[in-house]
Symmetry: C2
Subunit: 243 residues, 2 copies
């Protein structure tokens, strides 16, 4: 079984398994293994400049040419609900009931989906965000969504500001967002590689870093805590971040 945690990779793989065409817009500076994975699943990649206007105009041209349906990576109802299924699977597989779950927050689809999936269970929901792109935690404190963020963090998958649909869901249903430093993220990432034998990128280690933090420990949660690990694209031809 191939696990594909990246949005583009997951869509390319799902489309191939169903015999559907798949067209992916990716920034020119995307990580090489991400590009190779998407390509190997048979999707057609169109590269664009790494900024929002270029992404949108490239997407528009692509849709006009192919008639393809746009599947947004986080700020859309079906994407949010789909991402929330990770918690449903986790609840099913866990040997005992979870007391809490924690998910990383960038665009917020995964965290909002997790919170919706937790509805009606007794699972408390938390988010984890890097200090260098803590727009969600800040937005929750301010009572309004922060639309732009000057992201400076090693967790490149979490640099996006929280989406319009996602923010109010998080506001209503998430108990708190734990902010972690890049140093804590890198330490957590190394520990996950060494002990859990999991190749995770910094974004994928953020939630694990958060549960190791003093802020989370002080919550003194009794019972098992589920950690959503999302993001395993690491350019293995480059030195690892702790070297």
């Amino acid at each position: 079984m191939i696990l594909e945690r990246n949005h583009a990779g997951a869509l390319a793989l799902a489309a191939r398994e169903r015999g559907i065409g798949c067209f992916v817009v990716m920034p020119l500076n995307s990580a090489q293994p991400k590009i190779e994975a998407v390509r190997s699943y048979g999707a057609e990649i169109t590269f664009c400049e790494p900024n929002a206007p270029a992404r949108e105009s490239t997407l528009k041209m692509l849709q006009e040419r192919t008639g393809a349906t746009f599947i947004p990576p986080y700020d859309a109802v079906n994407t949010i609900l789909g991402q929330g299924t990770a918690l449903l699977e986790l609840i099913e597989q866990a040997p005992e009931p979870l007391a809490a779950v924690i998910a990383p927050v960038g665009g917020g689809g995964l965290l909002a989906g997790t919170a919706i999936a937790a509805d009606g269970t007794n699972v408390r929901v938390f988010g984890a965000e890097p200090a260098g792109a803590a727009d969600c935690a800040q937005g929750l404190a301010d009572g309004r969504r922060i639309e732009h963020v000057n992201a400076e963090t090693i967790a490149d998958g979490l640099r996006t500001p929280v989406g319009k649909l996602n923010f109010p869901i998080i506001q209503e249903r998430v108990e708190g967002v734990i902010v972690v430093s890049d140093e804590e993220i890198v330490q957590a990432m190394k520990l996950m590689w060494e002990r859990l034998k999991l190749v995770v990128e910094p974004s994928g280690a953020a939630a694990f870093a958060a549960i190791r933090s003093k802020a989370f420990q002080e919550l003194d949660i009794k019972g098992p805590v589920g950690v959503i690990v999302s993001g395993g694209n690491v350019d293995l031809s480059k030195p690892l971040p702790w070297i």
Copy 2:
């Protein structure tokens, strides 16, 4: 849940969970994360020179001092049977019946155990061995166990010659041992890191390398093939082997 695939680490963890003392003899040149894992599980480590006589005399002294029971890493009935339980779990978890299974072979405990566990199922059993320490494949061809091997392979966990108990079990129950080059092992290892998101050491990638080989593909096995992945101790402070 902590997965511990290393013999010393697994014993240290199991002992801690049961509140039993654990004493481990390790060669001085063991990988740092392996040492740290064993130590963090609360076992007492005694280091020795990296050769068989030193290992045995250190073990003897340790047993005299502590009265501990020796649990050999591969050439003992209970160890073989314990290692074979990996296949039982795999059969239980696989969504459809396995047509075959492949396990790496160094000392041979895992492969012999796998073969015993496959008894009475329709699962065909294969081994995977590095070309630079292919004493098991050679022994099968010659019809007798090779006792010494001048191992030269990146797969350091598979350098040991096959044990006395293990060889006849393998001879009787294993259909064949696929020999793979270090280059094939490193390629397989990189692919496992990139796509399966698994931190495996070269020894842990040997079986995956074998199923990708021409020799295995030519067997033309119909149905799912189980791959036993054993060994995830990589010194992450050093450059990765494909760099």
